[in-house]
Protein backbone atom coordinates (compact mmCIF):
# COMPACT_ATOMS: atom_id res chain seq x y z
CA UNK A 1 0.00 0.00 0.00
CA UNK A 2 2.52 2.55 -1.10
CA UNK A 3 0.77 5.90 -1.50
CA UNK A 4 1.11 7.46 -4.93
CA UNK A 5 3.09 10.65 -5.24
CA UNK A 6 0.71 13.32 -6.37
CA UNK A 7 -0.10 16.86 -5.42
CA UNK A 8 -2.56 16.00 -2.68
CA UNK A 9 -0.28 13.45 -1.04
CA UNK A 10 2.63 15.84 -1.27
CA UNK A 11 0.60 18.55 0.43
CA UNK A 12 -0.50 16.10 3.12
CA UNK A 13 3.10 15.05 3.78
CA UNK A 14 4.28 18.65 3.84
CA UNK A 15 1.45 19.58 6.17
CA UNK A 16 2.30 16.79 8.62
CA UNK A 17 5.94 17.81 8.60
CA UNK A 18 5.00 21.43 9.23
CA UNK A 19 2.69 20.45 12.07
CA UNK A 20 5.42 18.36 13.69
CA UNK A 21 8.03 21.11 13.38
CA UNK A 22 5.72 23.94 14.47
CA UNK A 23 6.89 24.05 18.12
CA UNK A 24 10.46 24.45 16.88
CA UNK A 25 9.41 27.43 14.79
CA UNK A 26 7.45 28.80 17.70
CA UNK A 27 10.42 28.49 20.06
CA UNK A 28 12.84 29.96 17.53
CA UNK A 29 10.76 33.05 16.86
CA UNK A 30 9.23 33.44 20.29
CA UNK A 31 5.80 33.36 18.71
CA UNK A 32 3.85 31.43 21.31
CA UNK A 33 0.48 32.30 19.93
CA UNK A 34 0.93 30.35 16.71
CA UNK A 35 1.29 27.23 18.85
CA UNK A 36 -1.86 28.09 20.80
CA UNK A 37 -3.72 28.65 17.56
CA UNK A 38 -2.59 25.38 16.05
CA UNK A 39 -3.37 23.42 19.19
CA UNK A 40 -6.98 24.47 18.70
CA UNK A 41 -6.78 23.71 14.98
CA UNK A 42 -5.47 20.17 15.51
CA UNK A 43 -8.31 19.48 17.93
CA UNK A 44 -10.92 20.68 15.45
CA UNK A 45 -9.11 18.72 12.73
CA UNK A 46 -9.54 15.56 14.80
CA UNK A 47 -13.25 16.30 15.25
CA UNK A 48 -13.63 17.01 11.54
CA UNK A 49 -11.74 13.82 10.66
CA UNK A 50 -14.14 11.79 12.77
CA UNK A 51 -17.08 13.45 11.02
CA UNK A 52 -15.45 12.61 7.72
CA UNK A 53 -15.46 8.94 8.67
CA UNK A 54 -19.25 8.83 8.74
CA UNK A 55 -19.95 11.58 6.22
CA UNK A 56 -17.28 11.00 3.61
CA UNK A 57 -16.96 7.23 3.78
CA UNK A 58 -20.24 6.18 5.34
CA UNK A 59 -22.57 8.62 3.61
CA UNK A 60 -24.15 9.58 6.96
CA UNK A 61 -24.50 13.34 7.04
CA UNK A 62 -24.61 14.12 10.72
CA UNK A 63 -25.58 17.67 11.60
CA UNK A 64 -25.13 17.03 15.29
CA UNK A 65 -21.50 16.09 15.52
CA UNK A 66 -20.57 18.93 17.83
CA UNK A 67 -22.61 17.20 20.54
CA UNK A 68 -19.65 14.86 21.18
CA UNK A 69 -17.30 17.81 21.58
CA UNK A 70 -19.55 18.92 24.39
CA UNK A 71 -20.04 15.47 25.88
CA UNK A 72 -16.32 14.70 25.92
CA UNK A 73 -15.68 18.15 27.36
CA UNK A 74 -18.35 17.91 30.03
CA UNK A 75 -17.10 14.47 31.07
CA UNK A 76 -13.72 16.05 31.82
CA UNK A 77 -15.20 19.22 33.29
CA UNK A 78 -17.76 17.56 35.55
CA UNK A 79 -15.32 14.98 36.88
CA UNK A 80 -12.78 17.73 37.53
CA UNK A 81 -15.42 19.78 39.35
CA UNK A 82 -16.25 16.74 41.49
CA UNK A 83 -12.60 16.40 42.46
CA UNK A 84 -11.59 13.58 40.12
CA UNK A 85 -8.62 15.05 38.33
CA UNK A 86 -6.98 11.94 36.97
CA UNK A 87 -6.94 11.75 33.21
CA UNK A 88 -6.89 7.96 33.49
CA UNK A 89 -10.46 8.21 34.73
CA UNK A 90 -11.63 11.36 32.92
CA UNK A 91 -10.66 10.38 29.44
CA UNK A 92 -12.02 6.83 29.37
CA UNK A 93 -15.26 8.20 30.82
CA UNK A 94 -15.35 10.84 28.07
CA UNK A 95 -14.89 8.17 25.42
CA UNK A 96 -17.40 5.74 26.89
CA UNK A 97 -20.10 8.35 27.39
CA UNK A 98 -19.59 9.65 23.86
CA UNK A 99 -19.80 6.10 22.52
CA UNK A 100 -23.00 5.42 24.45
CA UNK A 101 -24.58 8.63 23.25
CA UNK A 102 -23.59 7.79 19.68
CA UNK A 103 -25.02 4.30 20.12
CA UNK A 104 -28.32 5.67 21.34
CA UNK A 105 -28.84 8.38 18.76
CA UNK A 106 -27.32 6.25 16.01
CA UNK A 107 -29.74 3.42 16.67
CA UNK A 108 -32.67 5.82 16.44
CA UNK A 109 -31.38 8.06 13.65
CA UNK A 110 -30.26 5.34 11.27
CA UNK A 111 -33.86 4.50 10.57
CA UNK A 112 -33.91 7.62 8.43
CA UNK A 113 -32.00 8.66 5.33
CA UNK A 114 -30.76 11.79 3.61
CA UNK A 115 -32.09 15.08 4.84
CA UNK A 116 -34.21 13.34 7.46
CA UNK A 117 -31.00 11.94 8.91
CA UNK A 118 -29.43 15.39 8.90
CA UNK A 119 -32.36 16.79 10.82
CA UNK A 120 -32.75 14.01 13.37
CA UNK A 121 -29.06 14.18 14.31
CA UNK A 122 -29.48 17.93 14.64
CA UNK A 123 -32.45 17.35 16.93
CA UNK A 124 -30.47 15.12 19.28
CA UNK A 125 -27.55 17.53 19.42
CA UNK A 126 -29.89 20.41 20.23
CA UNK A 127 -31.43 18.34 23.02
CA UNK A 128 -27.95 17.75 24.42
CA UNK A 129 -27.36 21.49 24.20
CA UNK A 130 -30.47 22.28 26.21
CA UNK A 131 -29.70 19.59 28.79
CA UNK A 132 -26.23 21.08 29.30
CA UNK A 133 -27.74 24.56 29.59
CA UNK A 134 -29.96 23.26 32.37
CA UNK A 135 -27.06 21.84 34.42
CA UNK A 136 -27.04 24.73 36.85
CA UNK A 137 -24.78 22.82 39.22
CA UNK A 138 -22.14 22.89 36.48
CA UNK A 139 -22.51 26.49 35.42
CA UNK A 140 -25.56 26.05 33.21
CA UNK A 141 -25.17 28.10 30.14
CA UNK A 142 -22.35 30.19 31.53
CA UNK A 143 -20.20 27.12 31.20
CA UNK A 144 -17.84 25.35 33.53
CA UNK A 145 -14.27 26.39 34.20
CA UNK A 146 -11.79 23.51 34.36
CA UNK A 147 -9.34 24.67 37.00
CA UNK A 148 -6.84 21.89 36.56
CA UNK A 149 -6.08 20.08 33.37
CA UNK A 150 -6.28 16.30 33.36
CA UNK A 151 -3.58 14.74 35.48
CA UNK A 152 -1.70 11.81 33.97
CA UNK A 153 0.40 11.01 37.06
CA UNK A 154 3.47 12.77 35.78
CA UNK A 155 3.48 10.87 32.50
CA UNK A 156 2.69 14.01 30.58
CA UNK A 157 2.06 17.55 31.72
CA UNK A 158 -0.94 19.00 29.92
CA UNK A 159 -0.21 22.49 31.18
CA UNK A 160 3.05 22.53 29.26
CA UNK A 161 2.34 24.15 25.91
CA UNK A 162 4.63 21.95 23.84
CA UNK A 163 3.67 18.71 25.52
CA UNK A 164 -0.01 19.47 25.15
CA UNK A 165 0.42 20.39 21.51
CA UNK A 166 2.22 17.14 20.78
CA UNK A 167 -0.46 15.24 22.65
CA UNK A 168 -3.14 16.81 20.46
CA UNK A 169 -1.07 16.14 17.37
CA UNK A 170 -0.53 12.53 18.43
CA UNK A 171 -4.27 12.15 18.95
CA UNK A 172 -4.88 13.62 15.51
CA UNK A 173 -2.38 11.32 13.80
CA UNK A 174 -3.63 8.38 15.83
CA UNK A 175 -7.20 9.19 14.85
CA UNK A 176 -6.24 9.51 11.19
CA UNK A 177 -4.34 6.23 11.30
CA UNK A 178 -7.32 4.50 12.88
CA UNK A 179 -9.66 5.94 10.26
CA UNK A 180 -7.29 4.89 7.49
CA UNK A 181 -7.17 1.35 8.86
CA UNK A 182 -10.93 1.22 9.21
CA UNK A 183 -11.56 2.54 5.73
CA UNK A 184 -9.27 -0.02 4.17
CA UNK A 185 -10.49 -2.96 6.24
CA UNK A 186 -13.21 -5.34 5.20
CA UNK A 187 -15.52 -3.54 7.60
CA UNK A 188 -14.75 -0.20 5.97
CA UNK A 189 -15.30 -1.56 2.51
CA UNK A 190 -18.73 -2.81 3.54
CA UNK A 191 -19.61 0.59 4.98
CA UNK A 192 -18.53 2.30 1.77
CA UNK A 193 -20.40 -0.30 -0.23
CA UNK A 194 -23.53 0.45 1.74
CA UNK A 195 -23.11 4.11 0.92
CA UNK A 196 -22.97 3.54 -2.81
CA UNK A 197 -25.55 0.79 -3.02
CA UNK A 198 -27.41 -0.20 0.08
CA UNK A 199 -29.80 -2.65 -1.56
CA UNK A 200 -27.00 -4.63 -3.13
CA UNK A 201 -25.13 -4.95 0.13
CA UNK A 202 -28.33 -6.01 1.87
CA UNK A 203 -28.91 -8.57 -0.86
CA UNK A 204 -25.43 -10.01 -0.42
CA UNK A 205 -26.38 -10.53 3.19
CA UNK A 206 -24.83 -7.66 5.13
CA UNK A 207 -26.89 -5.99 7.82
CA UNK A 208 -26.26 -2.55 6.44
CA UNK A 209 -27.50 -0.71 9.50
CA UNK A 210 -25.36 -2.68 11.91
CA UNK A 211 -22.25 -1.70 9.99
CA UNK A 212 -23.38 1.89 9.80
CA UNK A 213 -24.10 1.96 13.51
CA UNK A 214 -20.66 0.66 14.46
CA UNK A 215 -19.10 3.23 12.18
CA UNK A 216 -21.28 5.97 13.72
CA UNK A 217 -20.23 4.96 17.24
CA UNK A 218 -16.52 4.93 16.34
CA UNK A 219 -16.79 8.43 14.87
CA UNK A 220 -18.65 9.69 17.94
CA UNK A 221 -16.01 8.23 20.23
CA UNK A 222 -13.16 9.86 18.33
CA UNK A 223 -14.98 13.18 18.45
CA UNK A 224 -15.50 12.67 22.20
CA UNK A 225 -11.72 12.47 22.50
CA UNK A 226 -11.49 15.78 20.63
CA UNK A 227 -13.98 17.16 23.17
CA UNK A 228 -11.80 16.05 26.09
CA UNK A 229 -8.82 17.73 24.44
CA UNK A 230 -10.81 20.88 23.76
CA UNK A 231 -11.93 21.19 27.39
CA UNK A 232 -8.29 20.91 28.46
CA UNK A 233 -7.21 23.40 25.84
CA UNK A 234 -9.73 26.09 26.77
CA UNK A 235 -9.78 25.17 30.49
CA UNK A 236 -13.48 25.64 29.99
CA UNK A 237 -16.51 23.89 28.60
CA UNK A 238 -19.88 25.42 27.82
CA UNK A 239 -23.06 24.44 26.00
CA UNK A 240 -22.12 26.86 23.19
CA UNK A 241 -19.73 24.23 21.87
CA UNK A 242 -22.71 21.98 21.10
CA UNK A 243 -24.91 24.54 19.39
CA UNK A 244 -25.95 23.64 15.85
CA UNK A 245 -23.78 26.34 14.29
CA UNK A 246 -20.72 24.52 15.65
CA UNK A 247 -21.87 21.29 14.01
CA UNK A 248 -22.24 23.36 10.86
CA UNK A 249 -18.64 24.59 11.21
CA UNK A 250 -17.41 21.00 11.41
CA UNK A 251 -19.39 20.10 8.30
CA UNK A 252 -17.94 23.06 6.45
CA UNK A 253 -14.40 22.01 7.41
CA UNK A 254 -14.97 18.51 6.03
CA UNK A 255 -16.57 19.61 2.77
CA UNK A 256 -14.11 22.44 2.29
CA UNK A 257 -11.10 20.18 2.73
CA UNK A 258 -12.54 17.33 0.77
CA UNK A 259 -15.01 14.69 1.85
CA UNK A 260 -13.86 11.11 1.72
CA UNK A 261 -10.22 12.10 1.62
CA UNK A 262 -8.17 11.12 4.66
CA UNK A 263 -6.38 14.45 5.05
CA UNK A 264 -9.21 16.54 3.64
CA UNK A 265 -10.75 17.46 6.99
CA UNK A 266 -7.33 18.42 8.38
CA UNK A 267 -6.75 20.75 5.45
CA UNK A 268 -10.31 22.02 5.82
CA UNK A 269 -9.87 22.76 9.52
CA UNK A 270 -6.57 24.53 8.96
CA UNK A 271 -7.83 26.65 6.08
CA UNK A 272 -11.20 27.48 7.67
CA UNK A 273 -9.86 28.43 11.11
CA UNK A 274 -6.84 30.28 9.71
CA UNK A 275 -9.00 32.22 7.25
CA UNK A 276 -11.29 33.12 10.13
CA UNK A 277 -8.36 34.29 12.24
CA UNK A 278 -6.53 36.15 9.47
CA UNK A 279 -9.60 37.78 7.94
CA UNK A 280 -10.69 39.02 11.35
CA UNK A 281 -7.39 40.89 11.59
CA UNK A 282 -7.94 42.69 8.29
CA UNK A 283 -11.66 43.32 8.25
CA UNK A 284 -14.76 43.05 10.36
CA UNK A 285 -16.69 42.01 7.30
CA UNK A 286 -14.98 38.68 6.81
CA UNK A 287 -18.21 37.10 5.59
CA UNK A 288 -18.08 39.23 2.46
CA UNK A 289 -14.92 37.35 1.52
CA UNK A 290 -15.34 33.97 3.20
CA UNK A 291 -18.89 33.50 1.89
CA UNK A 292 -18.13 33.88 -1.82
CA UNK A 293 -14.94 31.84 -1.36
CA UNK A 294 -17.02 28.91 -0.09
CA UNK A 295 -19.43 29.34 -2.99
CA UNK A 296 -16.58 29.41 -5.52
CA UNK A 297 -14.99 26.33 -3.99
CA UNK A 298 -18.24 24.44 -4.44
CA UNK A 299 -18.71 25.71 -7.97
CA UNK A 300 -15.19 25.23 -9.25
CA UNK A 301 -13.46 22.79 -6.94
CA UNK A 302 -15.52 19.65 -6.64
CA UNK A 303 -14.34 17.47 -3.82
CA UNK A 304 -12.98 20.42 -1.86
CA UNK A 305 -9.36 21.50 -1.68
CA UNK A 306 -7.99 17.96 -1.75
CA UNK A 307 -10.13 17.23 -4.79
CA UNK A 308 -8.68 20.28 -6.48
CA UNK A 309 -5.13 19.20 -5.65
CA UNK A 310 -5.86 15.70 -6.83
CA UNK A 311 -6.85 17.01 -10.22
CA UNK A 312 -3.79 19.22 -10.55
CA UNK A 313 -1.53 16.34 -11.48
CA UNK A 314 -3.97 14.83 -13.90
CA UNK A 315 -3.95 18.24 -15.53
Amino acid sequence: MMPKLNASNAVAALMCAALILLPVYSAATGNIFILTLFTRITIYALAAASLNLIMGYGGMMSFGHAAYLGIGGYAVGILAAEGIGSGFIQWPVALVVSALFALLIGALSLRTRGVYFIMITLAFAQMAYYVASALSRYGGDDGLTVYKRSDFAGLINLSDRNQFYYLCLACLFGGLYLIWRIVNSRFGLVVQGVRSNEQRMQAIGFHANRYRLVCFVIAGTICGLAGALLANNTDFVSPAVMYWTRSGDLMVMVILGGMGSLFGPVVGAIVYLLLEELLSQFTEFSGLILGPVLLLIVLFARGGIMGLLGRMRRG
Binding site: G287, L294, I297
Partner: protein, 305 residues
Amino acid sequence: MYLVVEQLLNGLQFGLLLFLLAAGLTLVFGIMDFVNLAHGSLYMMGAYFAATFVAWTGSFVLGALMALGATLLLGIVLEYVALRHLYGRGHLDQVLATFGLILFFNDAVRLIWGPAGLALPLPAWLTVPVQIIPGVYYPAYRLMIIAVALAVAAMLYLVVMRTRVGMLIRAGASNREMIGALGINIKLLFTLVFGLGAALAGLAGLMQAPILTVQIGMGENILILAFVIIVIGGIGSIRGAFMAAIFVGIIDTMGRAFLPDLLRKVLSGAAASTAAPALSSMLIYLLMAIILVLRPEGLFPAAKR
Protein backbone atom coordinates in the same frame (compact mmCIF):
# COMPACT_ATOMS: atom_id res chain seq x y z
CA MET B 1 -61.27 27.98 29.42
CA TYR B 2 -60.65 31.35 27.80
CA LEU B 3 -57.01 30.82 28.64
CA VAL B 4 -56.84 27.61 26.65
CA VAL B 5 -58.64 29.17 23.69
CA GLU B 6 -56.33 32.14 23.70
CA GLN B 7 -53.24 29.97 23.95
CA LEU B 8 -54.54 27.81 21.10
CA LEU B 9 -54.95 30.93 19.05
CA ASN B 10 -51.41 32.00 19.95
CA GLY B 11 -50.15 28.62 18.82
CA LEU B 12 -52.15 28.69 15.60
CA GLN B 13 -50.89 32.13 14.75
CA PHE B 14 -47.28 31.21 15.48
CA GLY B 15 -47.64 28.07 13.39
CA LEU B 16 -49.04 29.99 10.44
CA LEU B 17 -46.18 32.43 10.69
CA LEU B 18 -43.79 29.50 10.46
CA PHE B 19 -45.76 28.09 7.54
CA LEU B 20 -45.04 31.18 5.45
CA LEU B 21 -41.33 30.49 5.77
CA ALA B 22 -41.58 26.73 5.43
CA ALA B 23 -43.76 26.84 2.30
CA GLY B 24 -41.07 28.41 0.13
CA LEU B 25 -38.41 26.14 1.56
CA THR B 26 -40.32 22.95 0.93
CA LEU B 27 -41.28 24.08 -2.57
CA VAL B 28 -37.67 24.65 -3.62
CA PHE B 29 -36.49 21.55 -1.80
CA GLY B 30 -39.20 19.33 -3.18
CA ILE B 31 -38.98 20.43 -6.80
CA MET B 32 -35.34 21.19 -7.40
CA ASP B 33 -34.05 18.85 -4.71
CA PHE B 34 -32.12 21.87 -3.52
CA VAL B 35 -31.22 22.51 0.13
CA ASN B 36 -31.29 26.25 0.45
CA LEU B 37 -29.86 27.45 3.75
CA ALA B 38 -29.94 30.95 2.29
CA HIS B 39 -33.74 30.83 2.54
CA GLY B 40 -33.26 32.43 5.95
CA SER B 41 -31.21 35.20 4.33
CA LEU B 42 -34.00 35.90 1.85
CA TYR B 43 -36.35 36.10 4.81
CA MET B 44 -34.00 38.63 6.40
CA MET B 45 -33.74 40.60 3.15
CA GLY B 46 -37.54 40.73 2.91
CA ALA B 47 -37.67 42.32 6.35
CA TYR B 48 -34.88 44.80 5.61
CA PHE B 49 -36.44 45.77 2.28
CA ALA B 50 -39.81 46.25 3.93
CA ALA B 51 -38.41 48.41 6.74
CA THR B 52 -36.57 50.54 4.18
CA PHE B 53 -39.45 50.90 1.73
CA VAL B 54 -42.05 51.54 4.41
CA ALA B 55 -39.86 54.31 5.77
CA TRP B 56 -39.48 55.74 2.25
CA THR B 57 -43.06 55.62 1.15
CA GLY B 58 -44.67 56.13 4.53
CA SER B 59 -47.19 53.44 3.65
CA PHE B 60 -47.08 50.01 5.22
CA VAL B 61 -48.97 48.27 2.42
CA LEU B 62 -47.08 49.94 -0.42
CA GLY B 63 -43.73 49.34 1.25
CA ALA B 64 -44.59 45.71 1.86
CA LEU B 65 -45.55 45.19 -1.79
CA MET B 66 -42.31 46.80 -2.98
CA ALA B 67 -40.35 44.58 -0.60
CA LEU B 68 -42.10 41.52 -2.01
CA GLY B 69 -41.09 42.54 -5.51
CA ALA B 70 -37.53 43.19 -4.40
CA THR B 71 -37.08 39.78 -2.78
CA LEU B 72 -38.62 38.10 -5.82
CA LEU B 73 -36.09 39.88 -8.00
CA LEU B 74 -33.23 39.09 -5.64
CA GLY B 75 -34.23 35.43 -5.64
CA ILE B 76 -34.28 35.29 -9.43
CA VAL B 77 -30.90 36.99 -9.74
CA LEU B 78 -29.40 34.71 -7.11
CA GLU B 79 -30.73 31.63 -8.90
CA TYR B 80 -29.55 32.85 -12.29
CA VAL B 81 -26.06 33.84 -11.21
CA ALA B 82 -25.10 31.09 -8.81
CA LEU B 83 -27.58 28.59 -7.55
CA ARG B 84 -28.75 27.03 -10.80
CA HIS B 85 -25.27 25.57 -11.21
CA LEU B 86 -25.83 23.61 -8.02
CA TYR B 87 -28.90 21.65 -9.07
CA GLY B 88 -28.02 18.01 -9.38
CA ARG B 89 -25.07 18.40 -7.05
CA GLY B 90 -25.04 16.60 -3.72
CA HIS B 91 -26.92 18.13 -0.81
CA LEU B 92 -23.68 18.80 0.99
CA ASP B 93 -22.30 20.94 -1.82
CA GLN B 94 -25.51 22.91 -1.67
CA VAL B 95 -25.25 23.23 2.09
CA LEU B 96 -21.71 24.58 1.87
CA ALA B 97 -22.50 27.01 -0.93
CA THR B 98 -25.63 28.40 0.67
CA PHE B 99 -23.89 28.54 4.06
CA GLY B 100 -21.40 30.81 2.28
CA LEU B 101 -24.32 32.92 1.11
CA ILE B 102 -25.55 33.28 4.70
CA LEU B 103 -22.16 34.64 5.74
CA PHE B 104 -22.16 36.95 2.73
CA PHE B 105 -25.66 38.30 3.26
CA ASN B 106 -25.18 38.87 6.99
CA ASP B 107 -22.09 40.98 6.44
CA ALA B 108 -23.52 42.71 3.37
CA VAL B 109 -26.54 43.78 5.41
CA ARG B 110 -24.27 44.96 8.23
CA LEU B 111 -22.25 46.98 5.72
CA ILE B 112 -25.30 48.57 4.08
CA TRP B 113 -27.70 49.05 6.97
CA GLY B 114 -25.29 48.98 9.92
CA PRO B 115 -25.33 46.50 12.79
CA ALA B 116 -28.13 48.13 14.75
CA GLY B 117 -31.14 46.63 13.01
CA LEU B 118 -34.22 48.52 11.82
CA ALA B 119 -37.69 49.19 13.11
CA LEU B 120 -40.82 48.47 11.13
CA PRO B 121 -43.62 50.20 13.02
CA LEU B 122 -47.20 49.25 12.32
CA PRO B 123 -49.80 51.69 11.04
CA ALA B 124 -52.19 52.79 13.77
CA TRP B 125 -55.11 50.72 12.47
CA LEU B 126 -53.18 47.52 13.08
CA THR B 127 -52.05 48.24 16.62
CA VAL B 128 -55.40 48.11 18.39
CA PRO B 129 -56.36 44.87 20.11
CA VAL B 130 -59.58 43.40 18.77
CA GLN B 131 -62.25 41.83 20.96
CA ILE B 132 -62.81 38.38 19.45
CA ILE B 133 -65.15 36.94 22.05
CA PRO B 134 -66.43 38.95 25.01
CA GLY B 135 -63.58 39.52 27.40
CA VAL B 136 -60.84 38.18 25.11
CA TYR B 137 -58.78 40.67 23.16
CA TYR B 138 -56.37 39.68 20.44
CA PRO B 139 -53.79 41.86 18.64
CA ALA B 140 -55.21 43.03 15.31
CA TYR B 141 -51.92 42.47 13.55
CA ARG B 142 -51.75 38.86 14.64
CA LEU B 143 -55.23 38.32 13.26
CA MET B 144 -53.96 39.76 10.01
CA ILE B 145 -51.06 37.32 9.96
CA ILE B 146 -53.54 34.48 10.35
CA ALA B 147 -55.59 35.85 7.45
CA VAL B 148 -52.60 36.39 5.16
CA ALA B 149 -51.11 33.00 5.89
CA LEU B 150 -54.42 31.25 5.25
CA ALA B 151 -54.79 33.18 2.01
CA VAL B 152 -51.29 32.16 0.93
CA ALA B 153 -52.02 28.56 1.80
CA ALA B 154 -55.24 28.65 -0.23
CA MET B 155 -53.51 30.30 -3.13
CA LEU B 156 -50.67 27.79 -3.12
CA TYR B 157 -53.20 24.98 -2.99
CA LEU B 158 -55.07 26.37 -5.97
CA VAL B 159 -51.91 27.01 -7.96
CA VAL B 160 -50.41 23.62 -7.23
CA MET B 161 -53.59 21.60 -7.61
CA ARG B 162 -55.54 23.44 -10.29
CA THR B 163 -53.14 25.02 -12.78
CA ARG B 164 -50.81 23.77 -15.47
CA VAL B 165 -47.76 25.22 -13.71
CA GLY B 166 -48.93 23.47 -10.59
CA MET B 167 -49.18 20.20 -12.44
CA LEU B 168 -45.60 20.61 -13.60
CA ILE B 169 -44.53 21.45 -10.09
CA ARG B 170 -46.18 18.32 -8.74
CA ALA B 171 -44.69 16.28 -11.53
CA GLY B 172 -41.29 17.74 -10.74
CA ALA B 173 -41.61 16.93 -7.07
CA SER B 174 -42.26 13.28 -7.72
CA ASN B 175 -40.28 12.67 -10.89
CA ARG B 176 -37.77 15.12 -12.18
CA GLU B 177 -36.97 13.35 -15.46
CA MET B 178 -40.59 13.35 -16.46
CA ILE B 179 -41.01 17.08 -16.86
CA GLY B 180 -37.86 17.10 -18.97
CA ALA B 181 -39.44 14.46 -21.15
CA LEU B 182 -42.54 16.59 -21.52
CA GLY B 183 -40.47 19.13 -23.36
CA ILE B 184 -40.96 21.84 -20.77
CA ASN B 185 -38.42 24.57 -20.33
CA ILE B 186 -37.19 23.30 -17.02
CA LYS B 187 -34.67 26.07 -16.51
CA LEU B 188 -37.37 28.70 -16.70
CA LEU B 189 -39.70 26.72 -14.48
CA PHE B 190 -36.98 26.31 -11.86
CA THR B 191 -36.12 29.99 -11.94
CA LEU B 192 -39.78 30.85 -11.46
CA VAL B 193 -40.22 28.41 -8.62
CA PHE B 194 -37.10 29.69 -6.91
CA GLY B 195 -38.35 33.25 -7.32
CA LEU B 196 -41.68 32.24 -5.82
CA GLY B 197 -39.90 30.57 -2.91
CA ALA B 198 -37.82 33.70 -2.36
CA ALA B 199 -40.91 35.90 -2.44
CA LEU B 200 -42.57 33.63 0.13
CA ALA B 201 -39.50 33.92 2.36
CA GLY B 202 -39.59 37.68 1.90
CA LEU B 203 -43.28 37.73 2.78
CA ALA B 204 -42.58 35.74 5.94
CA GLY B 205 -39.80 38.15 6.86
CA LEU B 206 -41.78 41.29 6.36
CA MET B 207 -44.87 39.92 8.08
CA GLN B 208 -42.85 38.98 11.14
CA ALA B 209 -40.83 42.18 11.24
CA PRO B 210 -43.33 44.25 13.25
CA ILE B 211 -43.71 41.48 15.87
CA LEU B 212 -40.11 40.41 16.04
CA THR B 213 -37.20 42.56 14.96
CA VAL B 214 -35.35 43.39 11.80
CA GLN B 215 -31.91 42.09 12.72
CA ILE B 216 -28.85 40.54 11.20
CA GLY B 217 -28.97 36.79 11.61
CA MET B 218 -32.73 36.87 12.23
CA GLY B 219 -33.14 34.13 9.61
CA GLU B 220 -30.93 31.52 11.21
CA ASN B 221 -32.76 30.32 14.29
CA ILE B 222 -36.09 30.42 12.53
CA LEU B 223 -34.64 28.59 9.53
CA ILE B 224 -33.97 25.61 11.76
CA LEU B 225 -37.62 25.69 12.81
CA ALA B 226 -38.65 25.82 9.16
CA PHE B 227 -36.49 22.80 8.43
CA VAL B 228 -38.03 20.98 11.36
CA ILE B 229 -41.44 21.70 9.89
CA ILE B 230 -40.74 20.55 6.37
CA VAL B 231 -39.08 17.42 7.68
CA ILE B 232 -41.98 16.59 9.96
CA GLY B 233 -44.41 17.34 7.16
CA GLY B 234 -42.52 15.40 4.55
CA ILE B 235 -40.26 17.17 2.10
CA GLY B 236 -41.93 18.67 -0.94
CA SER B 237 -45.42 18.53 0.49
CA ILE B 238 -47.11 21.91 0.89
CA ARG B 239 -49.98 20.22 2.69
CA GLY B 240 -47.52 18.49 5.02
CA ALA B 241 -45.74 21.78 5.71
CA PHE B 242 -49.07 23.43 6.50
CA MET B 243 -50.17 20.72 8.92
CA ALA B 244 -46.73 20.42 10.50
CA ALA B 245 -46.39 24.18 10.95
CA ILE B 246 -49.67 24.43 12.81
CA PHE B 247 -48.80 21.33 14.79
CA VAL B 248 -45.39 22.72 15.79
CA GLY B 249 -46.82 26.15 16.56
CA ILE B 250 -49.49 24.77 18.84
CA ILE B 251 -47.30 22.18 20.55
CA ASP B 252 -44.58 24.75 21.20
CA THR B 253 -46.96 27.37 22.56
CA MET B 254 -49.04 24.97 24.61
CA GLY B 255 -45.87 23.38 25.97
CA ARG B 256 -44.58 26.71 27.16
CA ALA B 257 -47.96 27.69 28.51
CA PHE B 258 -48.91 24.59 30.46
CA LEU B 259 -45.90 22.31 30.85
CA PRO B 260 -44.33 24.15 33.82
CA ASP B 261 -47.55 23.94 35.86
CA LEU B 262 -48.00 20.30 34.95
CA LEU B 263 -44.46 19.45 35.96
CA ARG B 264 -44.87 21.31 39.22
CA LYS B 265 -47.65 18.91 40.11
CA VAL B 266 -45.47 15.89 39.46
CA LEU B 267 -42.03 17.00 40.59
CA SER B 268 -40.74 18.98 43.53
CA GLY B 269 -40.58 22.75 43.11
CA ALA B 270 -36.85 23.04 42.52
CA ALA B 271 -36.67 20.11 40.12
CA ALA B 272 -39.66 21.39 38.18
CA SER B 273 -38.26 24.87 37.79
CA THR B 274 -35.05 23.48 36.28
CA ALA B 275 -36.68 20.80 34.18
CA ALA B 276 -39.59 22.78 32.76
CA PRO B 277 -37.70 25.43 30.78
CA ALA B 278 -35.21 22.86 29.51
CA LEU B 279 -37.99 20.54 28.46
CA SER B 280 -40.06 23.19 26.75
CA SER B 281 -36.90 24.41 24.97
CA MET B 282 -36.29 21.03 23.46
CA LEU B 283 -39.93 20.08 22.94
CA ILE B 284 -39.87 20.73 19.20
CA TYR B 285 -36.70 18.71 18.71
CA LEU B 286 -38.08 15.92 20.83
CA LEU B 287 -41.22 15.95 18.75
CA MET B 288 -39.26 15.80 15.50
CA ALA B 289 -37.06 12.97 16.74
CA ILE B 290 -40.06 10.93 17.83
CA ILE B 291 -41.89 11.49 14.55
CA LEU B 292 -38.85 10.59 12.49
CA VAL B 293 -38.16 7.46 14.51
CA LEU B 294 -41.74 6.35 13.92
CA ARG B 295 -42.20 7.79 10.42
CA PRO B 296 -38.73 8.11 8.84
CA GLU B 297 -40.03 10.12 5.89
CA GLY B 298 -42.23 12.56 7.76
CA LEU B 299 -45.97 12.58 8.27
CA PHE B 300 -46.96 13.26 4.67
CA PRO B 301 -44.20 11.92 2.42
CA ALA B 302 -44.40 13.17 -1.17
CA ALA B 303 -44.67 10.39 -3.72
CA LYS B 304 -41.52 8.30 -4.09
CA ARG B 305 -38.94 9.54 -6.48
